[in-house]
Amino acid sequence: MKKIMGYRNIGLVFGLIGLMVLAAIITPSLFSFAALVSMLRNNAVYVFLAIGMMIVLVTGGIDLSVGSTLALSGVVCTSLMSTHMDVPAIVWVLLSLVIGIICGAFNGFVVGYLKVVPMIATLGTMYIYRGFAFLLSGGQWWFPHQISQPYQDWAAKSIVSVPAILWIAAIVFIAAAWFMGYRTSGRRIYAIGTNVESAQVAGIKEARVRFLAFVICGALAGLSGMLYTANYALCTYSIGDGYELQAIAICILGGVSITGGRGTVDGVLIGWLMMSFITQFISLLPGLSVWQHALQGVIIIVAVFINIAMTRSSEKRFLKERGALL
């Protein structure tokens, strides 16, 4: 019991449970297995973006280009697939990762080595990648009949009554948790984010770590592009518009610090679940679906406010401790 209460995301878990109870009372129809699975599937794309975003946020950066990266990778994969139906679908998955890595590497290079503020650098690439997505799509739409079944299967195929996209999300989640928790490179990301100077003194190469964080974030955004088009069997250049803000919102809900250093993969998972419930629960209430964005905005503000209040009170406690010495 003590161990559970000492779990660092315990507050988030309570928040999630509270939300679920509320949802259960108001919209009991949410709690069938099929409804839950469909809810998660509809929000699955955000997991990839949010985990990638978290890794960048932990370094103290931000990546506004993930929505555009998603679109670029989605457009490239879909357009090539529609003309090369016979190529095995796994090729498109790998291709989406490659596109994402290239996009992320460019961000990482500009931020890590050219020392441009992440906010502005990725604002620029957000435009650039979106523009390329349009250019390559030629403004075209792809509809379900143009998207091959094996391609769609990567998201839709039911394995043990859970769609493939959720299994992939689970794999990414475990891999990210393993990487951030147990790999030297992952831990270096935290070290840079919590104290750059100490990290440099400890011999950690700042530029390289930042570069790596953006590459991972880009790779996940690229993957999410392919999975998006497979999941909805739909593609155009404007997909994923504004998803970067959603991803940041999920991270903030999941307790990731925007100033770097703090944030866990499991926290992001909880944040994602919370956001999914909110979205779904709102959409089930008649006439409330238009409330979605407004409520999400309020929820984030409140979450950050609580976060700041907690930090302040711990500072106060610290001063009190010091006061006792005088």
Binding site: T184, Y190, V201, A202, R262, E321
Partner: protein
């Protein structure tokens, strides 16, 4: 004594920064398995000395011997490999990472797959921490621990790297009595295990409890090394403060008038407790003590940057509330901040705009700035303090330290003030320029300003002040009239020898 007995030896080490000599031919010997205290005033060169040993700075000349072999560490990573570790008063580690990870940063335990073996690391960390403290949870983030606990973690980290030489910089400065006792026990145990410790401390108690020998630095120079049991308190203080009053101080001509500012029993949790002081028209009151004694915080409270938990401030007999610098200025209280670069100047703006930044109403009509009037106003103020500048539309960074400080002075003089608080007004200013700052202070006093000067330099305090208040760990530890006090007495009060009003 033959060299073989020394684990660490430094000979004639010189280190200069720009034109400032931080270490001037310093020598030092550390015996194997001894605790060696290093003492000296603020700015005597102790911290530069540590940084040279740990490889943060490279000496200009001189040699370092580790067990008789020459070494020249280029970084803290280098020195750590040689078995030298330093533990600082303010720990700068990774506050968001766990204790375990802080201990093993850079030398993590991994399994065959290259993964962090957290179980093993936590276990090892526990083994390292347990003898030092039973209460530290190694899985907690470093930032959630008390300062004392963080220091213990740093010690554990040093031990995990087989440190043979441990440098402890003011380890007891922020510890309670109990925590000090624990630390003493740990230090003694380490010594018995063969670790050599350099202990830097202002507390005589630390030295008597632990050290067998003590080395004193003063003004970047090596003064001497004594066995602790063969040197008296008086002699040691003499060695530390024996600085000659070679600096000239201008004759003070101001007439002291009635009390202007009276501060009574102000306290601020975590910073200072029950501070009372008063300053009169034309008087220079020095507020001295060691760095970290709470002097700056008292000044910031009077100026409204911080708000006191209790106590009162009155100006010319009337009680006032100062909640912000804006209100302080309105009441006529000005502060020359301690760090002119980060608190006093805007280096991106021209000198004249810096001068006018605090009070723009002189030359602004309906909130629009009349630039001609602004420049004229700035020129007048700069001439009043004889600023030496070729072009006042250049940024302040083009000036020398002394002239930069004058720009901040000019800024304060643009307003009708009654009380001026000067926090280390001559810090980082070369000797020649100091004199002109003193002249300005005297002139201001003659013009009827009541001045509070915070200073760590005893000669400056004795040369300039009419009255002196000494602070130690957030308390007033002595109050003296100038002329009836010596450097030794001030030092003794700073170190905590005097608790009550010190009479000569």
């Amino acid at each position: 004594m033959s060299e073989q007995n020394y684990i660490l030896e430094l000979k004639d080490v010189v280190k200069t920064f720009g034109g400032v000599t931080a270490l001037n031919g310093v020598s030092f010997q550390l015996k194997k398995g001894e605790i060696h205290a290093l003492m000296g005033e603020n700015g005597a060169g102790k911290s530069t000395f540590i940084k040279v040993i740990t490889g943060v700075h490279q000496p200009d000349s001189g040699i370092m011997l580790l067990e008789g072999e020459r070494i020249a560490p280029k970084s803290t990573i280098d020195s750590a490999k040689m078995g030298i570790a330093a533990i600082y008063q303010h720990v700068t580690a990774f506050p968001d990472l766990s204790v375990t990870e802080n201990i093993f940063m850079g030398q993590e335990i991994k399994n065959k797959l290259g993964m962090y073996d957290w179980r093993q690391m936590h276990k090892r960390a526990k083994e390292l921490i347990e003898p030092l403290s039973k209460e530290i949870d190694v899985t907690k983030p470093m930032g959630s621990l008390s300062v004392a606990a963080q220091q213990l973690v740093e010690i554990a980290k040093a031990l995990s790297r087989d440190a043979r030489i441990l440098i402890m910089d003011e380890p007891t400065a922020s510890l309670s009595t109990n925590e000090c006792e624990e630390l003493y026990a740990i230090a003694e145990r380490l010594r018995n295990e063969g670790v050599s410790i350099i202990l830097i401390s202002h507390r005589f108690e630390d030295m008597y409890r632990l050290a067998t020998r003590v080395t004193v630095f003063r003004d970047a120079q090596y003064i001497g090394c004594w066995d602790v049991d063969k040197i008296s308190n008086q002699k040691l203080i003499g060695a530390m403060v024996g600085r000659e009053l070679d600096q000239m101080y201008p004759e003070k001509t101001a007439k002291i008038g009635e009390t202007v500012l009276k501060v009574e029993h102000i306290s601020k949790e975590g910073y200072f407790k029950d501070i009372s002081l008063e300053v009169k028209r034309g008087e220079i009151l020095a507020l001295t003590g060691l760095v970290g004694a709470g002097r700056t915080e008292v000044c910031q409270t009077i100026f409204g940057i911080m708000n006191p938990d209790s106590g009162t401030i009155s100006l010319e007999g009337k009680q006032i509330q100062v909640k912000s610098p804006v209100e302080a200025f309105r009441h006529g209280i000005g502060l020359l901040p301690e760090n002119r670069q980060t608190q006093g100047l805007v280096n991106e703006l021209p000198i004249y705009q810096n001068v006018s930044s605090a009070d723009m109403n002189h030359f602004a009509k309906a909130h629009m700035i009349d630039e001609k009037a602004e420049i004229q106003n700035a020129i007048d103020l700069c001439q009043r303090i004889s600023l030496k500048a070729k072009d006042i539309s250049a940024p302040p960074s083009s000036l020398s330290g002394g002239n930069q400080q004058k720009v901040v002075f000019a800024k304060l003089l643009s307003m009708p003030l009654k009380v001026l608080i000067l926090d280390e007004p001559t810090k980082g200013i070369d000797v020649g320029a100091k004199y002109s700052i003193y002249e300005i202070m005297n002139e201001l006093a003659s013009n009827g300003y009541a001045i509070i000067m915070v200073s760590s330099e005893m000669p400056e305090v004795l040369g300039m002040a009419d009255r002196i208040v000494v602070m130690k760990s957030g308390h007033v530890s002595g109050e003296f009239n100038n002329g009836e006090v010596s450097q030794e007495m001030l030092m003794a009060a700073s170190l905590g020898e005097h608790r009550k009003e010190g009479s000569a």
